[in-house]
Amino acid sequence: MIAWGNLRTRWRELVATVLAVAVGVGLLGAVLLAADAARPPVQDRFAATSALAVPPAVAESRTPRTDGLVPWPAGEADALAARLRATPGVTAAVPDRSFPAVPMPGGRPFGVPEDREGGHGFASLALGGYRVVAGEAPRRPGEAVVGAALGLMPGATVPVLFADAVRPVRVTGVTDGPGVYLTDTEAARYAPGVRTIGVLGAVPPAPTGVTLLSGDDRGAVEPVQDSRVRHRGTQLLAALGLLTGVTTAVVVSAALSTVVAGRRRELGLLRTVGATPGQVRRTVLGEAALTGAAGAVLGTALAVGLAPALYRALVAVEAAQPVDGVPPVPGPLLTAGAAGVLLALGGGLAASRTAARATPLDVVVDRGGARTTSRPRLVSGVVTLLVGAGLATATAVADGDGRIGLALTTGAVLVVAAALLAPVVIGGLAGAGAARRCRAGAGAGAGVDAVARARAGAATRIRVGAGARSPGRYRTPFRAGVTATLVRAEAAAAPARAAAVTAPAVVAVGFAVLIGGLVDTMAAAYPAERTAVLAGSVAVEQDGAPGLPDAAVRALAVPGARTPLPTVLVLPGSAGPTAVDAVGTADPGLVRPGEVVLAAPVATALGVTAGDTVPARFADGTTVPLRVTATPPPDERRGDVVVDRAQVRTHDPAALTDTAFLPVGAVPDPLPPGAVARDAQAYALADYAVDARLTTALAGLLVAVSAGYGGIAVAGGITADARSRRTDRAALVAAGATRARLAATAAAEATLAALLGAVLGLVVTLPPLAAVASGLARATGVPVLPVIDPGWASLAAGGCLVVAAATAALTTGRAARHG
């Protein structure tokens, strides 16, 4: 009853909380809707299937090069397909054999440059429901049916880039689907391992050890380049979700605490007329829930509006595939709404505890709201701080993608710690300031209690009044001194109140600086890392195609050239089968057939030592025992898992050399057809360009969200606070304060609180940034310094200060006018 009554009559006080929840739910909902829309669609080339049979996935994947499925060997795949075909109702079961095949009409590559699955067996044509629109099926090696988009007619010959060489292919037919379709025998030679069997007709029961995907689930089988795009999008959305969740929790908690602090007398009245502490707590929680529900309703509407824009942003930074629209499906919206209510309840928990501590005496004695730091807040603040310190250490020793995620989490945890401990810092600073003034003989004691504060305020007011009427030369020092005294006395007497403004400022500035700093630190470090590794090298790549064929690699085999042949091996790890990136190297001094060199961290992770023999499953599905000959420290040039190049080629006929690295001055002239050479710096920058675009977009998005959100919260906190301090204002007015004076004092107070928040926000970003820099330095072997982007930092901090000062001056000025 009371919670509902409060929501109806005091909605102005609760607007800040409702808005905070609404913004949180809106962003969270948009994130979830975008994630839902970004779920992989069923590939066109599987459109006619009823189901896709896939092998079991690895337990752990340490590579972005694979979907994590352990391939079936050719024989096993054919046997399984035959078994599925035998199921009544199944009209066809086709092992899908896909491999790199890039048509090069006129010498220019055709199609998506990263596509490593352009070639298929002819039988796969049926899986997409494609037809041969002209000509006939290929009968012999060197023959193919090609997509009509190529513009070729049956009988034509076109050069096609395969993993071994660019070879001429005779077109026997044209299909309405995309791709190059060889005879199934030739396809099996390029792709002996099978990761998908397409089923037409009825959906059969799944044989043991086989996963059958039907309906939309078939989208799980997607080209590696698509899953990389989606992986980027997922990372971005996860970061946005994390940031939104933390910000909402901090902001809602601060807003509700302010509301409760301003209502202590009324809570005391409830206790007097018979409410138990539990009833008071439930009243506040009920209000939090209702506020959360109101915010959630607004927020879901916001989410529906925001989601398409967010998705467009993802597409723009190549973190999602374009789609027709982002439908407002109920699942994600309900989840976001529920999260909003839960976050409001979570934020209300601390406020309700404070409220339950109200005593009947609060109704007769005005103790001025939230005054000190409660023990639970202090304890959770210290604990959070320790967790943050631990995470910072973990960030420093983490590698790869994990490092950035951990840095963000560290930042989030430290931001929460700073928000929780803000009252302690404020109290400490104000106390120290007051003590210094005491020593200087200026008065104003620390630990001013409410009554003394009101009296001191009144006394100073009278002095101000006198000062205002006295000759001009006395006015300025008096005024400045009085404002400072009032602001300091307020901060010392009720640090938790000032903290309601400080906390959102910590969030806004902390995240803005952290994200901006991460982007800048990485932007400085990654190309430096690559350039250092590639110093004295020239990078040679196949233009417009996923890699260099063996023939080109042979032409580039000058002394000192490195031509790693990447593949994926499945090795037994501690958690089970583990997919790792491996490179084939033609350096008998390093590794010979039947041997493997594992970088020390990989060996440790897999639990093997030099001399052990590990069963390695190759791309063709066969398992080969490999002897671990050495476990040297990591070396970017060598690779973490090194095997013999010829052995890779034997077991992975589809493998392509991404890039060949040649010593400067040793580049053959002319280069192999279609190959381009770039210096190491240009290569490193190009390599980083996509990531840089993504991270910059991420930074912009996250900074806008956190700073905007923080601004709303700062404004909300100040507004609620101004309402709860009518009595104080009345005392000051009675003592002779003008409206301008009240506004100036309030603005100074809010600006200082926001400034402290900005400083704390800056400080908490240092550990994760330093940790990332140290991790990068360790990984790259080049010194990396944490970079703090002055642009983002000053934008977020300046924004908070301006919002704080303006809101405080306006609300106090208005409130004073209305009495």
């Binding site: 005091r10 009245l269 018979g274 138990t276 502490p277 209690d449």
Partner: protein, 258 residues
């Protein structure tokens, strides 16, 4: 019935000198009487009321409310006892701002999870002359009307004792008279009223006046004449002033200053 036996209490706050607020106060209030507690600022009036109502725990002494010793109860049991047996009227901040007059009156019953029918609430409001204002919120009521709603709320549970702390402190004389007449009338149903006031005109409505000074009972006398009689107020005023030779000296605990 309310019985206070040898109440002693010292106010201690951080950084301030401890102040002896109650120094052996014993009082016995008969059912159906209105007792006014008077005395200069700092004499311990409010502390006495807070201790008697169980809002504050005295350092020693006993408070018996309807035969129950408050000192032996947990904070929760004390809350429940207040809910059942006591009503409160303060100088200000008596009503929950977001609730209507009727909802405010029904609040104690609702908090006790007891059903209270609309008729009882209407009757309680009618008793204080506000049956037409049931749906109004405190902000829409005058100060006197707000106090009358507070009285209706205090009386609706038929409590043993009503504690009133300067109930007319913020009202004009006409409104004050109306509020005091209501309080006085409620003693007819055997309700005991303990009222703290500094106003002799308010004390003139009481059966008995207790004067505190330095935390001790300095004077105690029954009033004469009809309730609220201005002459009685004059007599009370004179008697208080006569006893009040100088400004109240705060009784300090020897050696308490730190």
């Amino acid at each position: 019935m309310l019985e206070l036996a040898d109440l002693r209490h010292v106010h201690r706050s951080r950084g301030a000198t401890p102040v002896r607020a109650l120094d052996g106060v014993s009082l016995r209030l008969r059912p159906g009487t209105l007792t006014a507690v008077m005395g200069p600022s700092g004499s311990g009036k409010s502390t006495l009321l807070h201790c008697a109502a169980g809002l504050e725990s005295p350092e020693s002494g006993r408070v018996l409310l309807g035969g129950t010793d408050l000192g032996t109860l947990s904070e929760r049991r004390r809350t429940l006892l207040r809910r059942e047996r006591a009503g409160f009227v303060f100088q200000a901040f008596n009503l929950v701002a977001s609730l209507t007059a009727a909802q405010n009156v029904a609040l104690p019953a609702r908090l006790a999870r007891r059903r209270i029918d609309g008729a009882a609430v209407t009757a309680a409001l009618a008793e204080v002359g506000l049956d037409g204002r049931a749906g109004h919120r405190p902000a829409q009521l005058s100060g006197g009307e707000q106090q009358r709603v507070a009285i209706a709320r205090a009386l609706v549970t038929r409590p043993d004792v009503v504690f009133a702390d300067e109930p007319t402190g913020a009202l004009d004389s006409a409104s004050s008279a109306a509020v005091l007449a209501l309080l006085r009338r409620s003693t007819g149903t055997a309700t005991t009223i303990l009222m703290v006031t500094h106003d002799p005109a308010a004390a003139a409505w009481a059966d008995e006046v207790v004067v505190l000074r330095d935390g001790r009972v300095d004077d105690r006398f029954a009033t004469q004449g009809r309730p609220g009689d201005p002459d009685t107020a004059t007599v009370i005023g004179r008697r208080i002033t006569a006893g009040n030779a100088g400004p109240a000296a705060v009784h300090r605990v020897p050696g308490g200053a730190r």
